[in-house]
C-alpha cells in the first residue's frame, strides 16, 4: 500500500468513486423556503477532473459542502468510497481559510493525523510542489493572497486524499496568478491521479481543466453532463480549446443560463 518515497502519491489499487442519489437540499421554511439542490443524481469514478459550473445560486457550493460533510442533505444519499471503504476527502476553499496564528507548516500539520517525521517530510514536499518550500515558518499574514491559496492547495494535497473538492479556489485571485496556479494544480492532479470535483462559474477555467463538466441551473437542477476530450495541458488560446469553450457557452445559452 505504501508508495516509495520517490513517488508523490501512495499507490492505490482502485480509484475513488462518488455516488450521489436523489440528493435534495432546502433551506428555510414556508415562504422563505429555497431549494438549493433538486433531486441530483450523479456518479464520478476514477482519475477524472470534473468541473461543476453554473450561475451563482445554482447550488454548486452546497453540493460540495454536502459531499465534504460540512452540510447535511434534506434527503438523498451520498457515498464516497475508495477500495470499499469510506474515502478521505481533501478540500480547497474559495478563500484560503488558513489559521492566521499558525505558521504555514503548522497549518499543514493541523489537518494531519499525526506529527511524525514522515508526515512533516510529506508536508514539506507539498509545500515545495506549490513553490513555497522556504515559507514553512512564515505566518499566513506575511504571504500574498496567491501564496495563501497555494498553501490551501498544498494542505488539501498533503493529506493525500482520495478525492479533492475545490470550491472556486481561484476566483479571488488576479488573472495571472490564477492562471499559473491552475497549471500547478493540473500538474499535481496529473501526478496524483486522483478524483477532483472542481466548482467554478468560469466556463473557460472548466474547459481548460476538466475531462467532464456538469452544468447546473438555478434551483439546483443538474442540466447537462458534458465530456471534454482534449489532450492536456490545454492552452486557452489553442483553437480546439477555444472551440470547446464556445460549445459549452452555447450550451449555456440553450439552457438560458447566461443571462442569470
Amino acid at each position: 500500500m505504501e508508495a516509495s518515497q520517490s513517488r508523490v502519491w501512495r499507490a492505490s489499487r482502485e480509484m475513488a468513486e462518488i455516488k450521489v442519489e436523489n440528493l435534495h437540499k432546502e433551506f428555510g421554511v414556508g415562504e422563505d423556503r429555497v431549494v438549493a439542490l433538486e433531486n441530483v443524481s450523479l456518479g464520478v469514478q476514477g482519475h477524472v477532473f470534473v468541473s461543476i459550473v453554473g450561475p451563482s445560486g445554482c447550488g454548486k457550493s452546497t453540493l460540495l459542502n454536502i459531499l465534504s460533510g460540512i452540510e447535511t442533505p434534506s434527503s438523498g444519499t451520498v457515498t464516497i468510497t475508495q477500495d470499499n471503504r469510506d474515502a478521505e476527502p481533501g478540500y480547497v476553499f474559495q478563500a484560503a481559510r488558513l489559521l492566521p496564528w499558525r505558521t504555514v507548516m503548522d497549518n499543514l500539520l493541523f489537518v494531519q493525523k499525526d506529527r511524525s517525521d514522515a508526515t512533516r517530510e510529506r508536508c514539506q514536499r507539498y509545500l515545495e510542489m506549490v513553490q513555497l518550500g522556504d515559507k514553512g515558518d512564515k505566518y499566513p499574514g506575511e504571504l500574498s493572497g496567491g501564496m495563501q491559496q497555494r498553501v490551501g492547495i498544498a494542505r488539501a494535497f498533503s493529506i493525500e486524499p482520495d478525492v479533492l473538492f475545490m470550491d472556486e479556489p481561484f476566483s479571488h485571485l488576479d488573472a495571472i496568478t490564477a492562471r499559473s496556479l491552475r497549471r500547478e494544480l493540473h500538474e499535481m492532479w496529473r501526478q496524483a491521479r486522483k478524483t477532483v470535483l472542481f466548482v467554478t462559474h468560469d466556463v473557460g477555467e472548466a474547459v481548460e481543466l476538466s475531462n467532464r463538466i456538469l452544468v447546473f441551473a438555478k434551483g439546483g437542477r443538474l442540466e447537462d453532463d458534458l465530456q471534454v476530450d482534449l489532450p492536456f495541458p490545454r492552452d486557452p488560446s489553442n483553437e480546439d480549446v477555444a472551440i470547446a469553450k464556445a460549445k459549452v457557452l452555447r450550451k449555456f445559452e440553450e439552457l438560458d443560463l447566461v443571462a442569470t
Binding site: 465534504s68 478563500a95 489559521l99 496564528w101
Partner: protein, 318 residues
C-alpha cells in the same frame, strides 16, 4: 510652473526636523505639565499646594523610609501598603477573570444565558465604583473582603463583554475547514477556538487590571484601613497635598511599569502572528478614562458599532 506639483512632501531637515518630530512632542509633554504646575503654584494660595520638588522629596522619603511619619501603631510604610493593595488587586483580578470568562463564554454560546445576565452586567457597568465602595464598607466593615469585591465588580463586566464578543466573533469558516478535514474536536478547540478568543481575552485582562485598580483605590478610601487608597486618604485628612499627589504618582508609576513589563510582553508573544496590528497598539494608552474610550473604539471597529449602553459613569469616579 506646473511641474512643482506632485512631488513628495518637503521634509524638514536637521534641527527643525528634530523639533517637529513626534518624539520631541512626546518628551515635551512632561515639561508642559511642570510649567503648568508652577503656574498654578504661583497663582493660587500655595499653603497646601506643593511644588514638584516638594512632592519628589516626599516620595524619596517614603521610598527610603526616612520621613518618620507612621500612619498607625503598626509600622506600616509604603512597601507594606503597596503589598496589601497588590494582594487585593491580584486576588480580585483573577476572580474577575475566571468568573467573567465563564459567564462570558456562556453568554456568547447561549442566547438564554445572555438574556439572563445582560441587564445585570449593564447595571454593574452603570454603577459608580464609589457606590460599591460605600456599600461594601457598610456591609463588610474594614477588611480585605470589601476591596477585593470592589476589584471584582469593577473588572467583571469588561471581562464578560470581551469574552462574549470573542465567542460571537469566532471564525465560522475556520471551523468548517477543520470539520471538512475531519480534525478532532479537542484539536479544533485548542487550535481554532482558543487562539481566536485570545485578542478579546487580552483586552479583557487589560481592562480588568486597569479598572480593577481604580475600583480598589476607591474602595480602600472608604472601606479599608490599609492599602494605597487608604494612604492617599490619610494624607488628604492630614491636609498634605504632597502626600496625595506623591502616592497617586507611585500608583501611576507602578501601573505603567506593570503594563509595559508584563502585559505588553505577553501580548507581543501571543500576537506575533499579526504582522502589523498588535494588541499593544489596540490598548495603547491604557489608563484612566482612555480605557473606556479605547474599549468603545475597539468595539465599534471590530463589531461595526455595537452600542454598549450606559458605559459612562465608571471613568468619572475612577
Amino acid at each position: 510652473m506646473a511641474t512643482t506639483v506632485a512631488t513628495a512632501p518637503i521634509r524638514d531637515s536637521g534641527w527643525i526636523g528634530v523639533l517637529k518630530s513626534p518624539q520631541t512632542a512626546r518628551l515635551l509633554f512632561p515639561f508642559a505639565v511642570l510649567a503648568l504646575w508652577y503656574l498654578i503654584y504661583f497663582t493660587i494660595d500655595s499653603r497646601i499646594f506643593p511644588t514638584p520638588v516638594e512632592v519628589l522629596e516626599f516620595m524619596w522619603e517614603e521610598v527610603t523610609l526616612t520621613s518618620g511619619v507612621r500612619y498607625s501603631s503598626v509600622a506600616e510604610n509604603l512597601y507594606v501598603q503597596f503589598a496589601i493593595s497588590i494582594l487585593r488587586l491580584t486576588i480580585g483580578f483573577f476572580i474577575a477573570l475566571i468568573l467573567g470568562t465563564v459567564i462570558g463564554l456562556a453568554m456568547g454560546l447561549s442566547k438564554s444565558v445572555n438574556a439572563f445576565f445582560h441587564d445585570w452586567v449593564m447595571a454593574i457597568l452603570a454603577m459608580p465604583a464609589l457606590v460599591w465602595a460605600l456599600f461594601l464598607g457598610l456591609a463588610l466593615g474594614f477588611s480585605h473582603t470589601g476591596p477585593i469585591i470592589a476589584v471584582i465588580l469593577a473588572g467583571l463586566p469588561f471581562v464578560i463583554i470581551n469574552v462574549r464578543e470573542g465567542v460571537r466573533n469566532t471564525p465560522r469558516e475556520l471551523f468548517d475547514m477543520a470539520r471538512a478535514f475531519d480534525v478532532p474536536q479537542n484539536k479544533i478547540t485548542r487550535h481554532v477556538l482558543v487562539p481566536s478568543l485570545m485578542p478579546f481575552f487580552f483586552a479583557a485582562i487589560r481592562y480588568a487590571y486597569a479598572i480593577g485598580w481604580k475600583g480598589l483605590i476607591i474602595a480602600e478610601v472608604f472601606a479599608s484601613d490599609r492599602g494605597m487608597g487608604w494612604t492617599i486618604k490619610f494624607w488628604y485628612d492630614a491636609n498634605r497635598a504632597k502626600g496625595v499627589i506623591g502616592y497617586a504618582l507611585f500608583f501611576i508609576i507602578f501601573a505603567v511599569i506593570l503594563e509595559k513589563l508584563v502585559f505588553d510582553r505577553l501580548s507581543e508573544k501571543a500576537f506575533k502572528w499579526r504582522p502589523q496590528v498588535n494588541a499593544v497598539q489596540m490598548a495603547e494608552g491604557d489608563f484612566g478614562g482612555v480605557t473606556q474610550e479605547g474599549f468603545l473604539l475597539q468595539e465599534s471597529q471590530v463589531h461595526g458599532g455595537v452600542p454598549i449602553e450606559s458605559m459612562e459613569g465608571e471613568s468619572r469616579d475612577g
